[in-house]
């Protein structure tokens, strides 16, 4: 009845006004003290409160107006569109299928050409930022996302302490290269093996756990490893970290200004861009290795066992699958790729400290996997680009200073927006960006199915 009236006369204006004012009142309660009154230390180190009523008024104003527009314009428009579109089908349309088929090869070509494009557009010096902050940074997270995808997306084991294995890889490289002078190419597989061993070691006790409990225990393990790194000062130098970690060499050629360095041998002007571009291709290859191994493993018995485990653990066990081995291989392989990524991270930064391996990092990686659509490789990569690239872009918004004044620092909103995006994307698309899946096994005909038909696992 009420719906029918609303349809004929458009949205109910007076109710919308009331609702908007009510949300303004709630916003006053939520933001009043925290935004309106800022605590600052004065010259005598005493805390005093300063009123920021203008800011508070504008925040509340935005909320009231936003709520009003949502109620009167956005939601009715969305409801009308939904009505016209009719019920959504379980199988995506043909256009979507074509896009999803061609998206991966196209973006792969683009990724290989990316440094070339950037260098030809901006020159070697101008390319530094785009290759390093965007290219390498995003690809590290793509690789971590793909690695964790094995554990969370395929085997259905929620791991909130994944960053621990990343830390193991990073510290293995940092310690072994600075104490024993071993090269990156020897330590890369070693870091992977160490991380995989830790994966098995931490995987053993949690085999019986499932669901949220597993998530919390892995979180605890991640934190324990970080706290040990902070407190075991003799080995890890505590929270000040390990610095001047050796760089990576290419067949013994160093990327520096020395006579036998890369620039001199190739007869090029000296620039740090070559090293960055080299690192870019290295992490790209490592990430692709992760993807390749994952895709191949899905076709092997162990990969099938992971997915079976995710769908139904009890059925899995009753069909004779060894769930212990299945879980441990998932943990070990996921951890191994984190170890690779960690040693790359240590070599790229030249510095590691426990600060880089907080729970926040684990949360970001899990968020990337879930937001991308668990189990979907393309989705995870897209989520990494959107979340990491998007927050990196915020560093570039210096022009906002001209609008909001010099004290305005867009960088500090980075994680705030990241968190809001996490909540927003979950509400908008609980199944992640890519909500369709390609089943590994099919009867007669391969067709893409909706992500909501895939279980997320209990363990």
């Amino acid at each position: 009845m009420a719906d029918a009236i609303a349809k004929r006369h458009g949205p109910d204006m007076s109710a919308a006004v009331k609702d908007a004012l009510l949300s303004g009142l709630i916003a006053l309660g939520l933001f009043g003290p925290l935004v309106g009154l800022r605590t600052e230390q004065n010259m005598r180190n005493e805390l005093v409160v300063q009123g920021r009523w203008g800011l508070l008024a504008s925040v509340i104003g935005v909320i009231v107006v936003g709520r009003f527009l949502l109620l009167t314009l956005v939601w009715p428009a969305m409801a009308a569109r939904k009505e016209r579109a009719g019920p959504a089908s379980e199988t995506p349309s043909a256009v979507r299928q074509a896009v999803s088929r061609w998206f991966a090869p196209t973006s792969l070509v683009f990724l290989f050409l990316y440094p070339v494009i950037i260098v030809s557009l901006l020159g070697f010096q101008g390319s530094l930022k785009w290759v390093d902050n965007f290219g390498i940074q995003i690809l590290i997270y793509v690789m971590l996302g793909w690695g964790l995808n094995i554990v969370v997306g395929l085997a259905g084991l929620l791991d909130l302490g994944y960053v621990a294995f990343y830390a193991v890889g990073a510290y293995s490289y940092a310690l072994l290269s600075s104490h024993f002078g071993l090269s990156f190419w020897i330590l890369l597989p070693m870091a992977g093996i160490f991380a995989a061993l830790w994966g098995i070691l931490l995987g053993f006790p949690v085999l019986r756990l499932r669901g949220d409990y597993l998530a919390i225990v892995t979180l605890a393990f991640g934190e324990i490893i970080r706290l040990v790194l902070i407190n075991w000062r003799e080995l890890t130098n505590g929270s000040s970290g390990i610095s001047s970690i050796p760089k990576i060499t290419l067949f013994g050629i160093k990327f520096d200004a020395s006579p036998d360095g890369f620039a001199k041998i190739m007869d090029l002007p000296i620039s740090s861009a070559y090293y960055k571009i080299f690192l870019y291709y290295l992490i790209l290859l490592l990430a692709l290795l992760t993807a390749f191994v994952t895709i191949r493993l899905r076709k092997l018995p162990v990969g099938r066992a992971w997915e079976a485990l995710r769908e139904d653990e009890i059925a899995c066990r009753s069909l004779g699958i060894n769930t212990t081995n299945t879980k441990l291989t998932a943990f070990a392989l996921g951890a191994m790729f984190a170890g690779f990524a960690g040693s790359f991270f240590a070599a790229r930064q030249g510095f590691v400290s426990p600060e880089s391996f907080t729970f926040m990092e684990s949360a970001i990686i899990v968020a990337i996997v879930v937001l991308g659509g668990m189990g979907s490789m393309v989705g995870v990569a897209l989520a990494a680009v959107a979340m990491i690239g998007g927050t990196e872009l915020l560093r570039e918004l210096a022009f906002l200073k001209t609008i909001f004044g010099d004290n305005f620092n867009p960088d500090q909103f980075r994680m705030l927006i990241f968190g809001l995006a996490m909540v927003g994307i979950m509400i908008w698309k609980p199944r992640g960006f890519v909500s369709s899946r390609e089943p590994t096994i099919f009867l007669a005909e391969r067709k893409t199915i909706s992500g909501s038909l895939v279980k997320e696992g209990h363990g």
Partner: protein, 305 residues
């Protein structure tokens, strides 16, 4: 003996704070089976709200009675934190109810990031110290030049915690709201069929958890005299540990678990190493979950095919 007694007093104080936070975790987990990751940051935000109103009362309005100011601040913090938790549940969790299992967890992690970074942006990243208040205490024992003291702040924390828990116990056991809550915990669909407003009950669960977290936040501020935007995570995880240790879903379990975690932490830092006190807490979490997932007072989870 003196050290032991002093650590016992400190441990019970710390444990009371953990217990108050743990109730929020255990109730929400009991009713909708979700780990409310943002609860630790709700606690931290409530400490900030308390800080701001304490400063307004003492420096701007010139209130001189510290106890009265603290009580007023606690009530304001309870109200505003409840409102915040209600809004969070409404915006970030309710749309995801009935969705797949990981969605609310990710949303909660996102909300936790939002809260801590919001406070950082709004109030600045530095530590916020307040002048010491309610100093002094009772000397319980004095021998070998080691005075065991029970400070007034500790007495305040004990009394407030005991009174609130008693009131809360009455609310859950004797009122219709508590009955509705326990009904939803057992079977949400059946409760809805019998006329319990499930959405409202779940909202109220979040509100009650947040109110107790706000008390914990105010007491935390009064006890330590300093608060920082990153103070939510570690107490949050420890309180969750307490909830798990006591048996998640069980209210007395949460309080007992909180006291145990507080005692273990203070004894560990008193007798072993203060550096590894968080490692001890996290290890207990792992060990309890692995060997005794149902906790001290919880019911074992039976899986049906």
């Amino acid at each position: 003996m003196e050290v032991f007694l002093q650590q016992l007093i400190n441990g019970i104080t710390l444990g009371s704070i953990y217990g108050l936070i743990a109730i929020g975790y255990t109730m929400v987990f009991g009713i909708i089976g979700m780990v409310n990751f943002a609860h630790g940051d709700v606690f931290m935000t409530s400490a900030f709200i308390a800080l701001i109103f304490l400063l307004v009362l003492t420096t701007v309005l010139g209130m001189s009675s510290m106890i009265l100011a603290l009580i007023i601040v606690m009530v304001i913090a309870m109200v505003l934190t409840s409102l915040m938790s209600w809004a969070i549940e409404r915006v970030a969790y309710r749309p995801l109810r009935g969705s797949f299992r990981l969605a609310p967890l990710i949303s909660a992690i996102g909300m936790s990031i939002v809260l801590s970074n919001f406070v950082q942006v709004a109030q600045g990243p530095r530590n916020k110290p307040i002048p010491p208040m309610l100093s002094g205490g009772i000397e319980v024992m004095n021998s070998n030049n080691f005075a065991v003291t029970l400070s007034y702040k500790q007495i305040l924390i004990w009394v407030v915690t005991a009174v609130l828990l008693a009131g809360f116990w009455y609310l859950v056991q004797k009122t219709s709201l508590g009955r509705a809550q326990r009904a939803c915990e057992q079977d949400r669909k059946m409760a809805a069929l019998l006329g319990v407003n499930v959405d409202r009950t779940i909202s109220l669960t979040f509100v009650m958890g947040a109110a107790l977290a706000a008390v914990a936040g105010t007491l935390f501020l009064a006890y330590y005299g300093v608060v920082n935007f990153s103070d939510g995570f570690v107490p949050g995880v420890k309180a969750f540990t307490a909830a798990v240790l006591g048996g998640i879903g069980s209210l007395p379990g949460a309080v007992i678990g909180g006291l145990l975690i507080g005692l273990i932490e203070t004894f560990w830092s008193g007798y072993f190493s203060i550096d590894y006190k968080d490692v001890a807490a996290f290890s207990i979490l792992a060990i309890v979950l692995i060997f005794m997932p149902q906790g001290l007072l919880g019911r074992p989870e039976v899986e049906k095919v």
